[in-house]
């Protein structure tokens, strides 16, 4: 499949993630949407890695490895982020008995 298709697929997933962040007030759903966006980026990285590999394979056998390594690191960061984020949500729920992000309006002060 041409690279364009992957680009459009990723963009669509990313846009869905953004819309999700914007329209939902549940903090956990918002988190999930962020995961969708991260995965859209991952998918694109892998697709580009493959494209790169196909172009450079003749001269360099390991071309395109970097992209996949990056995806790996993004997963690492996402896992860390989720653990901290969920901890925050738990604590927020413990304090205000809600996970509505509109309660997080202390930023005004």
């Amino acid at each position: 499949m041409p690279i364009n298709y992957y680009i459009f697929l990723s963009l669509a997933l990313f846009a869905i993630g953004i819309v999700g962040v914007l329209i939902r007030r549940n903090a956990i759903i918002v988190f999930m949407c962020i995961e969708i966006m991260l995965n859209a980026a991952n998918l694109l990285l892998v697709a580009f890695s493959k494209m790169h590999h196909l172009q450079q394979a003749a001269t360099q056998a390991s071309a395109g490895t970097d992209g996949q390594i990056f995806v790996f690191f993004i997963m690492v960061v996402a896992a860390a982020e989720v653990s901290v984020g969920l901890a925050i949500i738990v604590m927020m729920f413990r304090n205000v008995h809600s996970i509505d992000i509109n309660f997080l309006n202390r930023l005004k002060h």
Binding site: P2, A12, L22, I28, I29, V46, V76, A78, M91
Partner: protein
């Protein structure tokens, strides 16, 4: 239409539909389940792109670990009933419009990108195998790898600190 193409379209549609379901489901538990489906679809794409290692890791880490964590939290807090207050209708519309516009703009901007036919071909390239990735990871990327372990450690410490019950002398917890 070859089998790869059929799979591509099938997985794409599955991913998009599941993603849409994630953001539209009233019940968070359903959202989580739909999200797992999104991850499976993306893993399928990884396989099509000869990134076998990542496909497996994606399922193990995301679908296995992270999503379970989400489910735990939801169940723990008993949030599975759909009592989420809805946002203002106009605000929702504006949000959807903004997201749509962003998509439109990006698609319009990138529609003329260079086309390389048939990058999703199974059997071409072996960089996605664990042996190759492992060599790259532990030769060229060993320092970032170790740093990421420190990141995990700090994330863990953070999660523990946040999750601990507050001492009663510090009633306001949001600042933590």
């Amino acid at each position: 239409m070859s089998i790869t193409q059929i799979l591509f379209w099938f997985l794409s549609v599955l991913a998009l539909f599941s993603a849409l379901m994630v953001i539209t489901s009233k019940n968070p538990v359903y959202s989580v389940l739909w999200l797992i489906l999104v991850f499976f679809a993306i893993s399928g794409h990884y396989l099509l792109l000869n990134a076998q290692f990542l496909a497996i890791v994606n399922i193990i880490v995301y679908a296995g670990a992270i999503m379970v964590l989400f489910l735990f939290v939801i169940m723990l807090m008993n949030l599975n009933k759909s009592n989420e207050p809805q946002k203002n209708k106009w605000l929702k519309l504006a949000a959807a419009l903004a997201g749509g516009c962003l998509l439109l703009v990006l698609v319009a901007a990138l529609k003329n990108a260079e086309t390389k036919s048939a990058i999703a071909e199974s059997g071409t390239g072996d960089i996605g195998l664990i042996g190759n990735l492992g060599k790259a990871l532990f030769n060229d990327y060993v320092v970032p790898f170790e740093i990421s372990s420190i990141l995990f450690l700090s994330a863990m410490v953070g999660a523990v600190v946040l999750g601990k019950k507050e001492a009663s002398s510090h009633p306001s917890g949001e600042e933590a």
